[in-house]
């Protein structure tokens, strides 16, 4: 595994996933005591890799399918260890300025040697390969807590179904072990991949972002045709679906767009919706990945007192007879 780690192409593509015999996957985080992602107390598995590039994404480290390096400026002791090992000379440190550390991400090939050498933990590898067995051991650990609370495991991401075989196996094994299963998907996946997991998935949390194709493409990088189509097919299966609408300023919070989304859901006979108000908490992650944060100047909608935008969204969806879930 160690040798594998160093090759930039070690992330696992869908094609590879289909063909390979072992079911390894790449994840970037496992979080216990998740209470906002399905019923009860859950273990949240963050699978790495997503085909969409939503401008507001709060998990930018989830997008790439391969491990990459994050930089925590406050931890850097400027020892220069990383400079010495970087084979691409992608790292620059200018000791004369406060934020003098730079990774040239165009040169960086994600070999991660710098993260291995870094003594202070300022450079950290994000994303690692995990075998199905290892992952299931992690899932099993919290069983007493799922039982007590009616919780279970939730696959999140990235797009969990972008590693279809791995996701399927986790869901299947969990289901067989009588652990409640949930996935959070953006729906931008081939229908067979989604269909395959349905028998083993207790709850699908399905993101719907926008109804208009061009706007969707402009803000997420992809068309929404497939997402709408999958939603339609999904609604015909009788599967329990909770639609989740991220409320994103300057994108979908205007009454017209929200009404369109509500109509789309009603047409598909989907009655449950929840909202994910935009927040700025992802910003630090963009800095760590040396990336531009397109949503830097937009207001937080996730506020202690519910913001007007959220109240308005709730009102619109409720007017269509929909149930608003927390």
């Amino acid at each position: 595994m160690k040798g594998l780690d160093r090759t930039p192409a070690m992330g696992i593509s869908r094609k590879q996933q289909r063909s390979q015999s072992s079911t390894d996957g790449i994840i970037f985080n496992i979080q216990g005591y998740a209470v906002d992602d399905g019923p009860g107390i859950r273990k949240l598995i963050f699978l790495k890799g997503c085909q969409l590039r939503c401008a507001w994404c709060s998990n930018p480290e989830s997008q790439k399918f391969t491990p990459e390096v994050e930089f925590f400026p406050q931890k850097c002791i400027r020892c220069g260890c990383c400079l010495e090992v970087c084979p691409e000379e992608a790292i620059n440190i200018d000791l004369s300025v406060g934020d003098g550390f730079k990774i040239n991400r165009r040169l960086c090939n994600d070999c991660l040697l710098c993260a291995e050498q870094c003594p202070s933990g300022a450079l950290r590898k994000i994303g690692h390969v995990i075998t199905l067995d290892e992952l299931m051991r992690e899932v099993e650990k919290d069983r007493s807590y799922y039982r007590k609370s009616g919780g279970g495991v939730t696959l999140s991401g990235g797009e969990p179904l972008a590693q279809p075989r791995f996701a399927l196996e986790i869901l299947k094994q969990s289901y067989e072990r009588n652990i409640h299963t949930t996935i959070e998907t953006a729906g931008y996946v081939p229908w067979p991949d989604l269909k395959a997991v349905l028998p083993y998935t207790d709850l699908i949390i399905y993101d719907v972002k926008h109804c208009e194709e061009n706007t969707h493409r402009r803000m997420t990088g992809k068309s929404n045709n497939r997402i709408k189509q999958n939603l339609y097919r999904l609604s015909k299966t009788g599967q329990e679906v909770l639609v989740r609408v991220p409320l994103i300023p300057a994108f979908n919070t205007d009454p017209k767009t929200l009404t369109e989304i509500a109509k789309l859901l009603i047409t598909n006979n989907l009655k449950q919706v929840s909202f994910l108000p935009f927040h700025q908490f992802g910003k630090s992650k963009y800095i760590r990945l040396s990336r531009e944060y397109p949503y830097e100047h937009h207001p937080n909608l996730l506020t202690f007192q519910e913001s007007q935008t959220v109240i308005e969204a709730k009102r619109i969806f409720a007017s269509f007879g929909m149930t608003i879930r927390e």
Partner: protein, 844 residues
């Protein structure tokens, strides 16, 4: 502006906190913010918080002076009689602070927000260079010098201290006796103690940690007790005396009578003071209250209490007098909701008291606990109150749930009073009502970390394993931090002298000594046995063997130290007030330190739990399993405090850590803790009980860390040890459940009857909704059912988060989550952190 004016301008606590208190607890609350009774409570609360606003408490020399004067006149008398006379002299002479608005009288100090000194327990040790001031004394100077601004000592009091108190007690305090005894008779132990840095121990100090027999006195009054004691004396005096023990017993009975009468006289003085205040009082309503208070203080604690108000006043006198007489802290009241309930029930039934008035009285009673500090000034106690515990909930002798109306009233009382005292524990078990658990969590959600949750499922079996009977075990209560003993208020005659703080034990030190072949690397002295150079250990088991030998000596020496402490108390400072308040010592005429109680333990409090697991895990992993580094390299790295070995250090930090639900690390911790537990438990106490263990650090992990070199878990020389049983700062948190799971796996709670503290943080947003609260309740239930012993949650409010910005190293467990997103708070940049803080305060 007077202190009372300022108090009146204090905002109500619910205005100050931004936590919405709209949960079910407050829908069913007895008192509401606009009740006149609640206005009184908040005014009184304002008076109590003054000390925090000023940031200071006064140190008074009044008690020290009275005690010193008394001792000067009683030379040659029996130690118990001398002590009883000194205490009674305090009861008769100390100023009684006036208490505006209050419904209860009596205070453990001469003025509000004031700390009395107990010079008989000061910590002086002679050394070769002559007489050296003890730590306690040094601290008095330090406070004066302004280095620590929590206390004030004025010039006059300092003069009294230096010219009257200090010269008398320098060679006569308990610390001086203990020091001489150890130095002269146990030179090897003395050497180890002074050179190994294995304990944080003050020589001397008052007796801490009791649950006294309050119920008997509530029921028969001190007059009834005196009658019994006089009968005991008559019986001996009129019999054919056949042993010296009988003569000794007469003295002890006499001393109990003296202090009992002393306390009665104090109560009468309080009554008189209330009467004096009536004359000056303009408000007829308050005058009536004062008259009633005067009547009650004439009656209790001398006579049996017959109403809720009388019972609370009597309990308060007995409790506050313990602090005034004997000092120390963690003098707890046990299962308050059980033995006090009959008084409340009868009053309500006979309509002697309205429910609202009953709640008001309860809250006034709680506030009395916060007026003064009785605890001595030691660093390990910084930032806490008296740590006097009140336990609610749990099961009866047959295992039935016994949550009652008073249990709920205590929760409400804490929600309104919301100060450090009383420290409250809620006993949980399989059948704790959901509603009670949820209301408890609602109270915790308000901030402040109380109540503490403790589990009958873990503690009752541990008590039984220590020889306690089933009935007594099911009626246990905890005290102080989380130490568990029998409660004589619920099981007659089942008192325990737990000696529950045998000094902080540095768990890391014996392992450090094993690594350095018995040499303490901090001072280069060979203190431990030469267990061999680790490079010669072929297997990890060999190394464990050396660790075991080092633990055995560290434990043995600690046992000697504690036995000597016990001896000095019994011989020179019989705790006569505790004797009066414990049925065993009182009735048998055997002082508490000589085995008067039914159960006679000495309880260690061990510090550095996570460190020792992580150290053993790293050594086994890096040196033996993976063979990534040699012993020689590791030892060189430790001696150099990791300088030049940064890479090795990061490997050590990366080794499996306790607290992350890693089976390897958890097993190593469990194994090494068992070495310690078994060594300790193998010793009997000189009172006929046994040594018991606990894993509690309070703030001592800082001082003990300073005395410990670099360790293989990646810790640098002098850095703090881990707090209680919390994961170390190097354990990258995987969330609450991992820490809970590690705790239940690694801590063998059958051995931790002397308590564990397990502090966990939650973010407010995860528990704000009703559903979030219920998930939290499920977390607690699962923890209890999988064997967890105790847990204390703090909900991270804005102040916590601001502190986390300043001290990120202490908050690695703080996880911010929103659906589909999660991040460690301390890893976010300042601006985002500020956003989250604003969200917590409701500003955003």
């Amino acid at each position: 502006m007077s202190i009372i004016d300022r108090a009146e301008r204090q905002p109500m606590w619910w205005e100050r906190t931004q936590v919405p208190w709209n949960g079910r607890l407050f829908e069913t609350a007895i008192l509401h913010p606009d009740d006149a009774a609640q206005m009184r409570i908040q005014k009184l609360r304002g008076l109590c918080t003054q000390r925090y606003d000023n940031g200071r408490r006064r140190i008074s020399m009044q008690r020290a002076r009275i005690v010193t004067d008394s001792y000067k006149t009683t030379a040659g008398e029996h130690p118990a009689i001398r002590r009883a006379k000194a205490i009674t002299s305090v009861f008769e002479r100390i100023d009684i602070p006036s208490a505006p608005y209050q419904l209860f009288l009596g205070s453990p100090s001469s003025a509000l927000h004031t700390l009395e000194i107990h010079p008989e327990f000061l910590n002086f040790v002679e050394d070769e260079e002559g007489v050296q001031d003890g730590r306690h004394d040094l601290r008095l100077r330090v406070f004066r010098g302004g280095e620590m601004d929590k206390y004030v000592l004025n010039d006059e009091d300092l003069h009294v201290y230096e010219t009257e108190v200090l010269p008398y007690w320098r060679n006569r305090s308990s610390g001086a006796y203990i020091g001489r005894e150890l130095k002269n008779n146990y030179p090897d132990a003395w050497f180890y103690m002074t050179h190994a840095d294995a304990y944080a121990y003050k020589l001397g100090g008052p007796l801490y940690h009791t649950i006294q027999d309050y119920r008997t006195i509530l029921e028969i009054g001190l007059a009834g007790i005196i009658e019994r004691l006089e009968a005991h004396i008559r019986e001996i005096v009129n019999s054919k005396i056949s042993s010296l023990k009988q003569i000794e017993r007469v003295n002890l009975y006499q001393s109990s009578i003296i202090v009992a009468k002393g306390l009665i006289s104090y109560a009468l003085r309080c009554s008189k003071q209330a009467e004096d205040e009536v004359e000056k009082e303009q408000d007829p309503e308050r005058a009536a209250e004062l008259l009633e208070m005067a009547r009650i203080c004439r009656k209790v604690p001398e006579q049996p209490a017959s109403s809720w108000h009388e019972a609370l006043q009597s309990l308060h006198f007995l409790h506050m007098a313990t602090g005034l007489a004997e000092g120390g802290n963690a003098h707890s009241v046990g299962r308050f909701d059980q033995y006090m309930y009959p008084f409340l029930e009868r009053d309500l039934k006979e309509r002697n008291v309205e429910l609202k008035r009953a709640q008001e009285l309860l809250e006034c009673f709680f506030l009395k606990w916060n007026e003064s500090q009785t605890a001595p000034i030691v660093r390990s106690m910084d930032g806490v109150g008296n740590n006097d515990k009140l336990t609610i909930g749990g099961v009866d002798s047959n295992g039935n749930d016994v949550t009652n109306m008073l249990s709920y009233m205590v929760l409400e009382g804490h929600a309104h009073v919301h100060l450090t005292d009383p420290n409250i524990s809620v006993r949980l078990h399989k059948n704790t009502p959901d509603d009670f658990l949820k209301k408890t969590l609602e109270v915790i959600r308000l901030g402040g970390g109380l109540p503490i949750l403790i589990s009958d499922e873990a503690i009752i079996p541990a008590l039984i394993a220590n020889g306690v009977s089933l009935d007594e075990a099911r009626n246990y209560a905890d005290l102080g931090c989380q130490e568990n003993i029998t409660d004589p208020n619920c099981c007659t005659d089942s008192d325990t002298h737990g000696h529950n703080n045998a000094g902080w034990f540095n768990l890391v030190k014996p392992i450090e000594l094993a690594i350095h072949n018995g040499i303490n690397p901090v001072n280069g002295v060979q203190v431990g046995p030469k267990t061999g150079h680790p490079a010669d250990f072929k297997t990890f088991a060999d190394f464990s063997g050396a660790v075991k030998k080092q633990y055995e000596l560290a434990v043995r020496t600690n046992v000697i130290l504690n036995d000597v402490v016990e001896y000095v108390y019994a011989r020179h400072f019989p705790c006569v007030f505790h004797n009066l308040m414990h049925a065993g010592p009182r009735e048998k005429g055997i002082t508490i330190n000589a085995g008067g109680c039914k159960y006679n333990w000495t309880g260690s409090l061990a510090v550095g739990t996570a460190n020792i697991g992580d150290i053993m895990s790293a050594i086994d992993s890096l040196v033996y399993e993976k063979k990534e580094c040699s012993w020689d390299t590791l030892i060189r790295a430790l001696k150099n405090d990791w300088q030049g070995y940064e890479e090795l250090r990061s490997r050590c930090i990366g080794a499996p850590k306790y607290g992350t639900d890693d089976d390897w690390a958890d097993k190593h911790l469990r194994d090494v803790l068992n070495i310690f537990f078994r060594a300790y438990e193998s010793y009997p106490t000189p009172r006929g009980g046994r040594f018991v263990c606990g894993l509690i650090s309070m703030a001592s992990y800082i001082d003990l860390g300073k005395a410990t070199g670099a360790t293989p878990d990646g810790r640098k020389k002098g850095d703090p040890l881990a707090d209680s049983i919390a994961p170390s700062v190097f354990a990258r948190s995987k969330g609450l459940i991992s820490a809970h799971r590690s705790a239940t796996k690694a801590i063998d709670t059958i051995h931790t009857v002397n308590g564990i503290t397990f502090n966990q943080r939650l973010t407010l947003s995860s528990v704000l909704s009703e559903r979030g609260l219920n998930k939290w309740a499920d977390l607690v239930r699962a923890y209890v059912e999988t064997g967890g012993q105790s847990v204390q949650y703090s909900v991270a409010d804005s102040e916590t988060l601001v502190d986390a910005q300043k001290h990120p190293e202490r908050y690695s467990d703080l996880i911010v989550r929103v659906g589909g997103y999660s991040a460690h708070f301390v890893e976010l940049d300042k601006e985002i952190q500020d956003t989250i803080i604003m969200r917590t305060t409701g500003e955003l």
